[in-house]
Symmetry: C2
Subunit: 87 residues, 2 copies
């Protein structure tokens, strides 16, 4: 079983009103040490046994491009974490 | 400058229809090696210089409890990553 975490964030050039609103609210609560705040999505995919690392990375990239991240506005990174049987 | 990543996910007992829908859609696209899929939120907070590690961890916990995670349905983890001057 292999667990892959995919992190999807807005590209730098994209304004994120949600992040702005949270940062302002935190400022009103007295947390004004935060110079920047980003909000994104995280996905945790558990792959079945018996897949090679290359096969998993290929699928993760395809899945992220096709469904998890909007190519125009977002970019993604991923981490392959627990894995008992990666060959 | 210290960057802290906060990951907010639903508790195990909470059903996440969004994750189910994505997993089913991926199955229809032919990606049926995924045995489990979780969807969560990620926050990246950049703290100003001059704060100690304890002060940052205290603020991250307070902020997460008060605003970023819904205590009843979600739990959170965090990672303190880049940091030039943590004393």
């Amino acid at each position: 079983m292999t667990v892959v975490k995919v992190f999807v964030n807005y590209k730098e050039s994209i304004l994120n009103p949600e992040a702005q609103a949270i940062q302002q609210a935190l400022g009103r609560l007295g947390y004004d040490n935060i110079t920047q705040l980003k909000v994104g999505k995280s996905f945790e995919l558990t792959f079945a046994d018996g897949m090679t690392r290359e096969a998993i990375e290929k699928e993760v990239n395809e899945i992220s491009d096709r469904m998890l991240a909007n190519y125009n506005m977002e970019n993604y990174t991923y981490e392959i974490s627990e894995s008992e049987d990666l060959s």
